[in-house]
């Protein structure tokens, strides 16, 4: 017994030596298993604007960041890394081509150039207006834009375009997730604080629709101003702004996030705060720890050197959607890959439990939404009890019968 284990140890030591001598050998067989023909290239475009105000890190006074820190590009890189083994198995080389424009014209030129080079899928990290303009200017070309950062509902509604797939959740999906949470907790009376931006008005519109749909009640909508002027105190002082009403919860519509962060703990009544602060609805949060999320976070942090945010998730999911479509359609051609991407069978794994797929009526990726505080995910929506006749994920966002999108 002792002798045989000594032999085993000696053999192990020899093996260890062999191993250290041939680190490249470990890679070889995977390549060896692939056919000898050169791999097929499948390149994915990526466009963004150099001075996108949404990533202005020095946004708040005193340079306090109130935004996601960093561009979502590392999410796309991680998606390529995750597809390495798939690529080796199906003899396909997945890669990204990034173009940073200083104007919309440059972005359009970049996408046009991509199409000429045989790139048919382009991730777009653009503000809503630029995204819409881009999609209109490349209409008719064999290219599909994957929206990874513009949540505006009108892009999925009256301004929807067939050549755009929305990987980032719509505002309405986020609001519906929040509203499900409130109704689940029977916090049905909602006081809304509205910021001065057009985006805040859009949010309030969606909050009204969502509340009506899920059976919550908007007690009042009160505009605030970001000011210290005592003359505006009924609009800038949170205690005054939240007084004189009966409500269970405060919803803050603040696309900037600069006002919202001072609302909790300042309300006149002791009530929770949701929306732009307090409990926020997100496509992703670094504290999500189920469905393989710790590994997703760890891989992202290794690539990006920071925590994964919602737009990073969308970039990752967009690339994963494409690599999955190539794998499952057994093609790198535009039409079969697009058909698979848009089809019911996409079954995309986003480490949020439910398989994700694209809604045919507005090209929004249906997906669970996380409801998170600063360091904890409290719930994953759809929340238990909110059921849909076909797919419970479609309790989040505008459903087919209500959609005004016509491709």
């Amino acid at each position: 017994m002792a002798a045989s284990s000594a032999i085993a140890r000696a053999a192990a030591a020899v093996l260890a030596l062999v191993c250290t001598l041939a680190p490249a050998g470990a890679q070889a067989p995977a390549a060896g298993a692939a056919p000898a023909t050169p791999p097929v290239e499948f390149r994915i475009g990526y466009v963004e604007l150099a001075d996108d105000p949404r990533y202005d890190e020095d946004y708040a006074y005193n340079l306090i960041p109130v935004r996601p820190i960093g561009r979502p590009y590392p999410g796309a890189e991680m998606g390529i890394g995750d597809a390495l083994q798939i690529g080796q198995t199906i003899n396909t080389n997945f890669s990204l081509v990034r173009s940073t424009g200083t104007s919309l014209d440059e972005v359009v030129a970049a996408v046009t150039g991509f199409v000429a080079e045989g790139i048919h899928f382009v991730l777009a990290d653009l503000p809503a207006a630029d995204l819409l303009a881009l999609s209109d200017r490349v209409t008719g070309m064999p290219v599909t834009i994957l929206n990874i950062s513009a949540p505006e509902d009108y892009l999925r509604g009256e301004s929807c375009r067939f050549n755009v797939v929305h990987v980032i959740p719509s505002s309405r999906m986020l609001i519906d997730a929040t509203m499900q949470f409130l109704v689940f907790h029977r916090w049905r009376n909602v006081l809304v604080l509205q910021g001065p931006l057009p985006a805040d008005q859009l949010t309030v519109d969606s909050v009204r629709q969502s509340a009506a749909f899920f059976g919550a009640r908007i007690v009042d909508v009160r505009p605030y101003v970001l000011s210290a002027n005592p003359r505006d105190r009924d609009q800038n002082n949170v205690a005054l702004l939240t007084g004189g009403a009966n409500y269970d919860v405060v919803y803050v519509a603040d696309a900037d996030g600069d006002y919202a962060r001072y609302v909790a703990y300042e309300t006149n009544d002791p009530r929770p705060v949701v929306g732009a602060a307090g409990l926020t609805a997100l496509a992703w949060h670094w504290s999500w720890e189920r469905q393989g999320a710790p590994q997703v976070n760890a891989r992202f942090e290794a690539v990006a050197g920071r925590r994964m945010a919602d737009v990073d998730f969308a970039a990752w999911a967009a690339v994963r959607g494409l690599t999955q479509s190539v794998l499952r359609s057994r093609s790198t051609e535009y039409q079969p890959v697009l058909d698979y991407l848009l089809g019911e069978r996409l079954n995309l794994d986003g480490s949020k439990g439910y398989p994700m797929s694209v809604r045919p009526w507005d090209h929004q990726l249906r997906q669970p939404i996380l409801l998170a505080t600063a360091n904890a995910v409290m719930q994953l929506a759809p929340i238990e009890g909110f059921l849909h006749q076909f797919n419970d994920l479609d309790t989040l966002g505008v459903d087919e019968p209500q959609s005004v999108c016509r491709f």
Binding site: M1, A2, S5, A8, R9, A12, A13, L15, A16, C19, G25, A26, Q27, A28, P29, A30, A33, G81, D82, A83, L84, Q85, I86, Q88, T89, I90, G292, P294, Q295, A298, R299, Q324, L327, N347, D349, G353, Y354, P355, N391, D392, L393
Partner: protein, 342 residues
């Protein structure tokens, strides 16, 4: 008792080889009066309470021991004579070695980042472990703790299965949707087999011809022909009242006679009974929340299922396929193992 003292003294040393030899003798000498190999005890790992519970089914599942482990213990396996229990601890990047006689952690085997699942080779000299954070399959020599091979695999590798002849290793990649076929001697991937979405665990049919793989997100079990490494077919599940999207199969365990496979269905909160020969799903049994692992009792009359989101074990009577008992355990139970007869 004297034997036990000697044994414990040895275990404090780093030499696992010595310990393995000693424990065989110690077990014969009757180390712990309450326990021998084949005790029938349940060993349960808990991801969030960082412990293994040992329960005695012959005494109403009384707690025999509560073993503090490294952080986030998940997959657990005995060595051949059941004197040692290994537990992969994902948050400390080690496999804990537990002396089953004393219920204490006596050693650690360093692994890559976040070890999840593993197997021992049939001679118990080597461990094959999937490290889900750095996406490798490591081959580690047990005696020296040397990493013999570190095989790059697809992201989030999980299930590991060694063929009966010890010459082929199978590993799933949850992100790359494939099964890697690995030569454990050379430490190289020889083939990749595309399966369903988010493949998790394995089961080999008794004749050794079919490799069953659970696909968590496509809600299927993919069946691979071992001879050709081709996908033969897949099995879909749908317990009454559920939708396909709710079905997230993970655990696969064969019945004692090899004619049935038990499949845990995750979010669908059921255990499925599948006929191995016909591949028909025969029935479903309701269990707790998000069942992931299932194992047989020592006498094969019961099944134990870990319910990760309701912190309990379901006990299923095999003959009636009924859920007869629920046992509260620690936080997020992951694996359950029975110290059955050798």
């Amino acid at each position: 008792m004297g034997v036990q003292m000697t044994f414990r003294k040895l275990t404090r040393r780093e030499s696992l080889a010595l310990m393995a030899a000693a424990s065989g003798a110690a077990a014969l000498g009757g180390v712990a009066p309450a326990r021998a190999a084949g005790s029938g005890y349940l060993f349960i790992s808990h991801e969030n309470s960082d412990n293994l519970l040992v329960l005695d089914p012959s005494r109403d599942f009384a707690r025999v021991a509560d073993i503090a482990t490294s952080r986030r213990p998940r997959d657990i396996h005995f060595n051949n004579d059941h004197s040692l229990l290994y537990a992969a601890c994902g948050d400390d990047d080690v496999i804990d070695v537990i002396d089953v006689a004393t219920y204490t952690v006596v050693d650690h085997i360093p692994t890559g980042r976040s070890p999840e699942a593993f197997v021992l080779n049939h001679e118990n000299t080597t461990i094959y472990v999937s490290n889900e954070e750095n996406s490798t399959l490591q081959v580690i020599d047990l005696a020296t703790k040397l990493i013999l091979h570190e095989v790059p695999v697809g992201a989030e590798p999980e299930g590991v299965l060694l063929s009966p002849d010890g010459r082929t290793l199978y590993v799933t990649s949850e992100v790359a949707d494939m099964v890697h076929v690995i030569d454990p001697e050379l430490g190289v991937v020889t083939q990749n087999i595309i399966v369903g979405t988010r493949p998790r665990r394995f089961s080999l049919t008794p004749d050794g011809r079919e490799l069953w793989v659970s696909d968590e997100l496509s809600g299927t079990v993919t069946i691979i022909d071992v001879a050709t490494n081709m996908v033969l077919t897949d099995i879909t599940f749908l317990p009454p009242g559920f939708r396909p999207v709710d079905v997230t199969p993970v655990g696969l365990t064969l019945s004692a006679d090899g004619t049935k496979t038990y499949v845990t269905l995750g979010r669908a909160n059921h255990l499925a009974f599948v006929d191995v020969a016909t591949k028909e799903v025969e029935s479903y049994t309701l269990v707790g929340a998000r069942p992931w692992n299932v194992c047989r009792s020592a006498d094969d009359r019961y099944l134990y299922v870990t319910n990760g989101l309701s912190d309990e074990i379901s006990v299923i009577e095999v003959s009636s396929r009924r859920n007869v008992l629920s046992i509260p355990v620690g936080r997020v139970p992951y694996a359950v193992l029975v110290d059955g007869s050798l």
